[in-house]
């Protein structure tokens, strides 16, 4: 603490001089430390997984939804899905109708032939593994979390089954497992991707409509997907930062 001297002007000048000396270096130090303090992502060691979906390639065959239930032992009743397909039909006067019979697992039946159909297409849906996940935010005990690889997982031994996360998900991606009595959802087949395999849905897609990759690897198919296509995500206004990206998705899709 500087003592108050008679010559205040000189005092002020000294202070300013000192600030002029130390502030820039403090600033540089702060910038440097913030760069150094970045997590291992910058070093390329951590992954950040995501998925790309080509809307124009999906034929709505349902193999992905079926393979997911097989791979992850999801109950076969038509109320529990980790991934599913929706069919959109847009009319010439703007009316939209959407169906997802048994999540698309058994395929779709032909639509009523109509002259007013403008276009129709399929949209595969799954957990978006958001970077700012509202489901993780609301879990009261820490049973759902973001893994170091950016995959949102549920700890089925810790979940108390309050269902708050299911309410918080804007995409309907979560369900309550009827036997385990905990929240459940797509895991990007975490048990496969950590062994170098691809998620089951990506594996069986006949048209390669699903692209799985790592956002932190320069040579990842997902980065190419993002580079070469105009990307849409679901409900961007909610700021969940989803990591499932859609190419050529029409604006009627919710």
């Amino acid at each position: 603490m500087k003592e108050k001297t008679k010559n205040n002007k000189l005092n002020r000048r000294e202070v300013l001089k000192k600030l002029g000396k130390y502030l820039p270096s403090a600033g540089l130090l702060w910038i440097a430390s913030s760069k150094l303090a970045l997590p291992a992502e910058e070093n390329g060691k951590k992954h950040n997984y995501g998925m790309g979906v080509y809307i124009k390639r999906c034929i709505g065959c349902g193999r992905c939804a079926n393979a997911c239930k097989e791979e992850n032992n999801v109950p076969r009743d038509p109320f529990f899905y980790r991934t599913w397909i929706e069919r959109y039909a847009v009319n010439m006067d703007g009316e939209v109708s959407v169906q997802s019979p048994n999540g698309g697992i058994d395929g779709f039946s032909p639509m009523e032939a109509t002259r007013t159909l403008l276009k129709s297409f399929f949209v595969p849906k799954l957990c978006n593994h958001c970077d700012n996940p509202p489901c993780v935010q609301v879990c009261p005990v820490g049973a759902t979390f973001k893994s170091p690889e950016g995959v949102i997982l549920v700890d089925e031994k810790y979940c108390i089954g309050c269902r708050y996360c299911i309410q918080a998900c804007p995409y309907g991606a979560r369900y309550f497992h009827p036997e385990k009595k905990v929240a459940d959802k797509c895991t990007f087949c975490y048990h496969r991707i950590t062994k170098g395999l691809r998620p089951a849905c990506v594996e069986v897609c006949p048209t390669n409509a699903r692209v799985f990759g790592d956002l932190h690897t320069l040579s990842s198919p997902l980065l190419r997907f993002k580079r070469m296509n105009d990307i849409h995500v679901l409900k961007p206004d909610l700021n969940t930062e989803p990591k499932v990206y859609y190419a050529n998705m029409d604006g009627v899709v919710r």
Binding site: P110, A113, G142, T144, D155, K157, L197, A200, V204
Partner: protein, 252 residues
Amino acid sequence: MFNPLKIFKTIPEQIIRLLLIFAGVIAALIIARHLFIPASFGKLGHYRADALDEIKSLPVQYAGRDQCAECHEDKIAILNSSYHKGLSCEACHGPGVKHVAAGGDYELLMPVKREFCHKCHAFLEARPTGFPQIDTITHNPNKPCIKCHNPHNPTPPSPPSECGVCHRSIESMKSVSPHNSLQCTTCHAAPREHKLNPRKYLPSKPSAREFCGKCHTKNAVASKEIPRIDMDKHGNTYVCWECHYPHSPQAE
């Protein structure tokens, strides 16, 4: 000086009793935290780090095509040069991990019924144009698909006779429009190879208004029923198909 006993005497007895109870509750909570929180909790974030390993060790069901290639090289070779080259074996044959583990003794699905191939190839309006689709009722009814199409090399016995076989929704739309008597090839010149390698050899598309003018200008040498317009005035700054979808070109 600080005399604890004196201070103690001045505190009302209610407070002392209450403080004791609250101290007990808080102590119980602290002890519980030390005893019962799982050991791996908090190591990587606000969750049980052991859960990662538990999830990693869940059983795998789909083996992946590389595993199939280890024993079925011949089938994979045929597949790789066919129209089904992007198709995973397990998309049709089901999850294969048990088959691999049993050295081939565990039997996989062998789909033979028509309905199975229909899952991908039945005509659905929403399927992208150009994807090979058939009308399940009229396309060789009751015959199993595999009689004519080898699943690992499904090239049809003869190339598709009409454009509508793959471009079904365009065909169905055109067939109820004023352009229904027009052949596709009238406007789109398709090289012969297009039927065998559609993405490499693309058909042409008209690029100028004059093309439509061949039938639609006032003086065109064409049938009397065809609507005529004044090419210089009607929509002069646009190409025709910016307003008139060629496969359903009617204005109302």
